[in-house]
């Protein structure tokens, strides 16, 4: 059997999450049939779905968080009736905020919980306070999730995790375990790519944090090897996205609800659908098209706790909030047709040539180079168009291309790829997501929490910045100091790169003064960091 070590490196690192340690034989298998090794994952039925005991549907999670919030409200109201002093701690520090309504809105769940349990502030755990800031979510779109903030110094009594924190950690753990045990990891890499393309941010608020994992399981995964148009519709109708980009608040100005409540449009989701999800900037739409689409998607919302519109936590079309009448988007008239009016727009822009180009470029950039080979982009665009957005065909076309295998391994692994690859190599299936979540925060890629709706950066420059590299080294040294006693880094180098390892890397590892140092250097070597 032919052995192509360089191609094995590409198969494992560019397309997958890196070789697994132990007796996996990943590198040898990838070297004997690089393309087949990567493609194998695509043919497993339901291989991209993540169905793990203990993970719940968005509706069930929604109900849980609504109930949780309701209980807190109830307790707070009871407390205020009994004359307990208001203890709002937020709002501009320089001033009091006598407007009680606003004050209430600014209270985060955890600060409310704190009020209820009447703990003195000094006893409050760092974790909880971090949650408070994360949930407060305005100044700090990327504020560190609670999971990263460990109690320091005074060792306050550990508060039990609330339902939101527990859910987020369970979702994170399931995703990390799947990525760690996957054979090659190509399918999981595709999930991460599409999840970032259609990102939400858990830092938006409690609901987004609660739904971050179920959003990916329900709106992304079922379509990763399916059709783009289906993924698009699933995403834009998912409660997490509707919440993240404010659409549940947007009312048709002439709808019954809009007139009654004297409220109206919010363009946020409509703009990002066009700019970030489909057509891309310069993709041929105008401000008027954004506004039209915003009108058309009014009424796209989710049912709340009381379920007047439907099952709590599910997508519903609220005709009362929907702007009546026909609308023009990019030159085409869409007649009033309830929920189908916007579905028709989404279906059309999903197969717009600008979308094909935008998606093909991003896809090629992710897997090959910041400036992807134009011929590859053109081919992917054509495949996308000809197959009506078949994402499996898109992935296969990428793997069948020569460019994707020949482009130099010039991109740096993202922090998520780096941490998962480390776990795989060291054959450690995580039992607790905290350390990964912490590492991701340190390295600037907090899980499911990008700073903006454009997701995390996907360029080499973004991750190869000086402090980022230095922090990777610090983390590699930490990993090594804990684990190196049990392994021989020289053996690991064989699993990572075999004879594709450069003589310099080999020598550096062999000459290291300790196993710990050798492992840290291996984890930082170009063979492990570049893809």
């Amino acid at each position: 059997m032919a052995r192509d070590s360089q191609a094995a490196l590409v198969a494992l690192n560019r397309f997958g999450f890196g070789a697994r340690g132990g007796a996996s034989g990943d590198f040898v298998n990838a070297a004997s049939d690089p393309r087949g090794f990567v493609k194998a994952e695509l043919s497993r039925p339901n291989g991209v779905l993540l169905e793990v005991p203990g993970l719940s549907s968005t509706a069930a999670l929604g109900k849980a968080v609504f109930d949780y919030q309701f209980e807190i409200r109830k307790a707070r109201d009871a407390a205020s009736k009994s004359g307990a002093p208001a203890t709002a701690t937020e709002g501009p520090p320089q001033q009091a905020s006598p407007d009680a309504r606003v004050q209430r809105r600014n209270l985060s769940l955890s600060s409310i919980a704190k009020d209820i349990t009447a703990k003195e502030p000094a006893k409050e755990s760092a974790k909880e306070m971090a949650m408070q800031t994360a949930e407060n979510g305005s100044a700090n779109a990327t504020m560190t999730p609670a999971e990263t903030m460990q109690p320091s110094a005074a060792k306050p009594p550990q508060q039990p995790l609330n339902i939101i924190q527990k859910t987020f950690r369970a979702e994170a753990l399931a995703r990390l375990q799947r990525a760690t045990i996957a054979d090659c990891g190509f399918a999981e890499r595709l999930v991460v790519f599409w999840s970032n393309h259609f990102c939400i941010s858990a830092s938006k608020g409690p609901l987004a944090r609660m739904w971050a994992g179920s959003f990916e399981r329900e709106a992304i995964r079922p379509h990763v090897l399916g059709r783009f148009a289906d993924m698009l519709q699933a995403v834009e109708q998912h409660p997490a996205m509707l919440f993240f980009l404010d659409n549940q608040q947007s009312l048709g100005p002439d709808s019954r609800a809009g007139v009654n409540r004297n409220r109206g449009l919010n363009e946020n989701l409509a703009r990002e659908i066009m700019e970030l999800h489909t057509l891309g900037v310069g993709g041929g739409y105008s401000q008027d098209d954004v506004t039209s689409l915003a009108r058309i998607i009014t009424g796209w919302t989710y049912a709340g706790r009381q379920g007047q519109l439907g099952t709590p936590g599910t997508f519903v079309f609220n005709a009362n909030a929907h702007q009546p009448g026909a609308q023009r988007v990019m030159g085409k008239i869409y007649e009033a047709n309830g929920v189908a009016q916007a579905e028709a727009v989404l279906a059309d822009i999903a197969r717009h040539p600008s979308t094909a180009k935008f998606v093909a470029t991003k896809f090629a950039r992710h897997f090959t180079a910041d400036e992807p080979p134009p011929a590859l982009v053109a081919r992917l665009r054509d495949v996308f168009t000809k197959t009506d957005g078949d994402l499996k065909a898109l992935a296969v076309a990428l793997l069948d291309s020569d460019e994707a295998w020949q482009a130099p391994l010039a991109k740096l692994r993202s922090p998520y790829e780096f941490l998962v690859a480390s776990g795989r190599l060291l054959a450690r299936n995580p039992e607790d997501p905290g350390r990964y979540l912490n590492g991701l925060n340190v390295l600037g890629q907090p899980l499911w929490s990008p700073a903006g709706p454009n997701g995390f950066a996907d360029t080499n420059a973004a991750w190869a910045a000086p402090e980022g590299v230095k922090l990777r080294l610090d983390i590699s040294a930490q990993i090594a100091s804990n684990l190196a006693d049990r392994i021989d880094p020289r053996d690991l180098l064989e699993l990572v790169a075999a004879d594709a390892a450069s003589p310099e890397t080999r020598r550096t590892i062999e000459r290291a003064e300790s196993r710990q140092q050798a492992l840290a250097l291996l984890l930082m070597s170009p063979e492990f960091q570049r893809r």
């Binding site: 520090p93 800031t133 305005s138 100044a139 504020m143 560190t144 608040q249 363009e267 912490n438 910045a465």
Partner: protein, 407 residues
């Protein structure tokens, strides 16, 4: 896996504060004239507010008859609880910014209103690119205008005292002039010997990573006193103050950087923006705190300092259907610092009548933001009009530097 076992678990992450929506980076050199005989030692801080600041909510044209109707439930008022602070008979400052109000009274702060970059579409990401790159259109992301300005300054000593390069240098300061950055707190660090070995491997195998690592290894002791450890519960407002405090401490040092840039995230107030209190008020309070930190942290150096606050574009003049504002055009820029000829509202006010709004929805820009930046660079560092029009802000000759911004 034990990535981050006990030692790190007990330390708040270094990146936590950056993730709190704030970052700082600075030029790696002192300009040569920094210790010139006349004792003037100018400093410049550029603060980028990402997400598009609602200028009409921050410095409200209360005297404009159409303002209250357009800004509706979130409009500021000159009377009642949480009244806005009148800056003149027409404009009023948001009540969450008492430090800026005081600086304005002391004639150390100024506001430029109805300002915008040359960008007229409404994508954050393109808008930020234009704001920070200094080019007239999007897509030029290799270098920022502040970095190109630095290239035209006489380069002095390198800022040596132990700076780590930030992972998130804002585009405005990105480019060939070397920069340094700083972020609070530290992880347990890898041993020096390990780092040196890795640097050597990179030099043979991966020159780009070699450069990054070498810069990253310069430690950040200078900025870090005990008071710089982030406290648990640090929120966005506190994070803004904390980063500003650290940046001020660095920039106050005799051998510290003279020119730096910060970026604060989170200004995209589509829903429930709030009026005198609420979401935007909290952000503005953080910004105000950051300005105050610079004032106190720079000490005597505040006298020669200018801070410029800018954002990629403004927001709609009329509030949207969710008590927020959507992406717009004209907005404000703020100047603060001892070098500012302050106490002034600088605005060629276009009015808020429907016919006067840009595309019937946004505050129409009447001042090009580049004119402000050019004026600052000219007054503060003596950069000539030609360099400004060709190198710093390419193809911008028709946009003349605003005169007399500095005292």
């Amino acid at each position: 896996m034990d990535f981050c076992d006990s030692p790190m678990a007990s330390a708040t992450s270094r990146r936590a504060l950056l993730l709190g929506g704030a970052s700082f980076a600075a030029w790696a050199y002192l300009p040569k004239f920094a210790r010139a005989a006349d004792g003037r030692d100018p400093r410049l801080v550029v603060v980028i507010l990402r997400g598009a600041l609602d200028g009409l909510a921050t410095v409200a044209p209360i005297g404009d008859p159409d303002y209250a109707g357009l800004h509706g439930s979130i409009a500021l008022r000159a009377d009642g609880p949480n009244a806005a602070v009148m800056l003149d008979s027409f404009f009023a400052l948001h009540p969450a910014m008492p430090a800026f109000a005081r600086m304005y009274r002391e004639k150390k702060a100024a506001v430029i209103h109805a300002v915008a970059t040359s960008y007229r579409d409404r994508s954050h990401f393109d808008g930020q690119d234009v704001l920070e790159s200094g080019f007239s259109g999007p897509g030029r992301v290799q270098s920022g205008w502040l970095n190109r300005a630095l290239e035209n300054l006489p380069r002095g000593d390198r800022v040596m005292r132990a700076l780590a390069v930030g992972p998130t240098t804002p585009l405005v300061l990105r480019g060939s002039a070397p920069t340094v950055g700083w972020a609070p707190v530290a992880l347990p660090q890898a041993a020096d010997d390990t780092a040196m070995r890795l640097a050597e491997l990179y030099q043979h195998r991966d020159p780009a990573l070699a450069t990054a690592l070498t810069q990253g290894l310069q430690l950040d002791k200078a900025a870090q006193g005990d008071d710089m450890k982030p406290k648990p519960g640090t929120n966005g407002v506190a994070a803004m103050r904390l980063v500003a405090r650290g940046a001020a401490k660095l920039m106050a040092a005799d051998d510290g950087p003279r020119i730096g840039a910060l970026a604060f995230d989170g200004w995209d107030t589509h829903a429930n923006e709030g009026g005198p209190v609420g979401r935007l008020a909290q952000l503005l309070s953080g910004l105000d705190g950051a300005l105050a930190e610079f004032e106190s942290g720079l000490g005597d150096r505040w006298r020669d300092t200018v801070i410029v606050v800018a954002t990629e574009f403004g927001r709609t003049a009329r509030i949207n259907g969710t008590e927020g504002t959507d992406h717009g055009t004209g907005t404000i820029a703020l100047l603060a610092g001892g070098a500012v000829k302050g106490g002034r509202m600088i605005a060629d006010w276009p009015g808020l009548k429907l016919a006067n709004l840009y595309q019937g929805r946004d505050l129409a820009p009447t001042t090009d933001l580049r004119a402000v930046m050019k004026g600052v660079l000219h007054d503060q560092f003596g950069l000539g009009e030609r360099v400004l029009a060709e190198q710093v802000f390419p193809d911008s000759a028709p946009v003349k530097p605003m005169k007399g911004l500095m005292g």
